[in-house]
Symmetry: C2
Subunit: 343 residues, 2 copies
């Protein structure tokens, strides 16, 4: 009988939670708040993340993965995309301001955003200056305080290694011209595959048992407090919003105040448990502190300790399953490969 009850309950989605709202009603409430799941099927995910201008192929993904882990794309030969967007650590570096070439901290004290689910963002970079991962991938490689490699150096390094030439030909055809743009485009294809379905997605696609009671309560609080104003859609973030709407950051650091229009990209909340420290300036380590700070800075509401704890409990249900990555073997250099430059 007990099994029967559970089956009926989960089928009809009429179980009442401990907090007075049925699971079905909570799913509906979340949907109405604009929250959207990562789909369950591989095909649906592919439709969500693919771009007809640079379509995903398994060959591009494999080559893009190599380039993503390739430290020789940097001037020093020591820093890869994965250095700051570490796939072993929620797609981030776990430090406040990103550290790049010559141990240089980001001059605006900007924190490295996660690469996981970045394809779900409407825009890339904290100032949202480009919508495309293809463009994003070009930025840090060239930036002086990051990988510090001019386009020409990147092209020379890659085209000096027969192993890369072979793979580019296999991927793009014999006549391929290996440009800096193509290298970045290929990295972007790999990055598109880095989506992480979580228990919350399972819940949103009508499995009410995917979340615990406390997580459901946290979801309600998350919606009721208004967090969904910015953290919505399939990425729970990723759109531009005004910077410091109701108050200044108590945890200020760096000179970033948004783009020329005073707007900032809302970070995704997916895997937020794994991506401390928080905010554009990486200046807050506690997730509950970050939740409260967002209430006062962006929503103009007080989120008390209990509510912040509830929301944090919900947010941890957004920790998703990571794609399995087989660590690559990178091509061998030749006499033509430009040497590392530490200066």
């Amino acid at each position: 009988m007990r099994t029967m009850k559970i089956v009926v309950c989960s089928t009809l989605l009429t179980c009442m939670s401990a907090f007075g709202i049925s699971d079905m009603a909570l799913v509906k409430k979340a949907q109405e708040a604009g929250l959207k799941p990562i789909p369950k099927s591989e095909l649906e995910i592919l439709k969500l993340v693919d771009d007809p201008k640079n379509p995903i192929t398994s060959s591009k993904v494999e080559l893009g993965k190599k380039l993503y882990f390739e430290p020789r794309l940097s001037k020093s030969g020591l820093i890869s995309c994965n250095t700051c967007h570490n796939l072993a650590m929620g797609g981030v570096d776990g430090v406040g301001a990103a550290i790049g070439h010559k141990w240089t901290p980001n001059p605006h004290h900007l924190n490295s955003p996660t690469v996981y689910n970045s394809v779900l963002n409407d825009v890339q970079f904290w100032d949202g200056r480009d919508p495309h991962l293809e463009a994003q991938a070009q930025g840090p490689i060239q930036a002086g305080p990051e990988m510090a490699a001019p386009k020409e150096l990147v092209e020379k390094r890659v085209t000096s290694m027969p192993g890369y030439i072979k793979e580019f030909k296999e991927t793009y055809g014999q006549d391929v011209k290996i440009t800096f743009k193509l290298i970045a485009d290929t990295i972007a294809v790999f990055e598109r595959t880095l989506v992480t379905p979580s228990r919350f997605d399972d819940f949103l696609t009508n499995n009410p048992k995917a979340l615990t009671k406390n997580e459901k309560k946290g979801l309600q609080t998350f919606i009721d407090k208004g967090c969904v104003a910015c953290h919505t859609g399939v990425g729970l973030g990723g759109t531009m919003q005004p910077f410091e709407i109701h108050a200044k950051y108590a945890y200020a650091k760096g000179d970033f105040k948004g783009n020329a229009s005073g707007m900032v990209k809302t970070p995704t909340l997916r895997n937020i448990e794994e991506t401390a420290p928080y905010f554009h300036n990486g200046n807050v380590w506690s997730l509950t502190t970050a939740v409260k700070e967002m209430g006062s800075v962006q929503l103009g509401v007080k989120i008390n300790d209990k509510e912040a704890q509830q929301i944090t409990t919900f947010l941890k249900s957004l920790t998703g399953d990571k794609p399995k990555i087989s660590y690559p073997q990178l091509p061998v250099i030749t006499n033509k490969t430009p040497r590392p430059d530490m200066n």
Copy 2:
């Protein structure tokens, strides 16, 4: 008929090479020169690399892999074992002097040796100061110009993460005390598994077709010139030898002159194609140049361009199959985790 001939030939090992010595005779010559293969069977490899004092278990290997890729073992939170001993690039960093905490080059301009097959070395470190990988793993984590993390910091970081506590308990039992030593010991177990069987091993275990004619010619030259005096055994290196026996390095850099007895660890030649730049000081990028330099510095013989090219051709047959590494997911920090420190 043709097939038949090949079968007979490879079975009896009596094919004459183009250079006047039978394959069988060359295998024998190599064996007599002290060259030994990585065995073919997993069990034989295990016997070769295991240490009863710290026996390999799959649980230790998996945990050791996580710790090997763990940048939070460093003071900054940015440098892992894999930073300087990158498993994607022949187990090295591909730069001259190793670069560590605060972008500090190794003060003696020492080059990062490969981690692949390091278990086959008699001794570790360029000055051979310890025979055990367990001890080696403790060095760079603490060294100021490398990962710069005091033991206590490493222990606090690891024990602050429930994900690590759980895995240590699963690996060593509920009563485990997670010490710095145990962390290093676990890394060492992972490192023991990083052996890379090559075509040369196949040749040495009586498959004469595993090497090309030119590689066999190169092997003969390698033996005849006397390279096997130091580059022998299963590691083709890994023992202590006098530093600068017959001449000074033409490619000098740094102040390293061997240990107190004027001895230096001979590096393994396995995967040498992938581990430029060469020598203790990482000051030579061309393998043929390195071969010639070793002739004059260590053997007191002239190795001409043609011979150096032959030897280089042989050396490339030592590029081995790397173990497949699934990139790990590392545990999440807590409020107790000591923060990264860039200074």
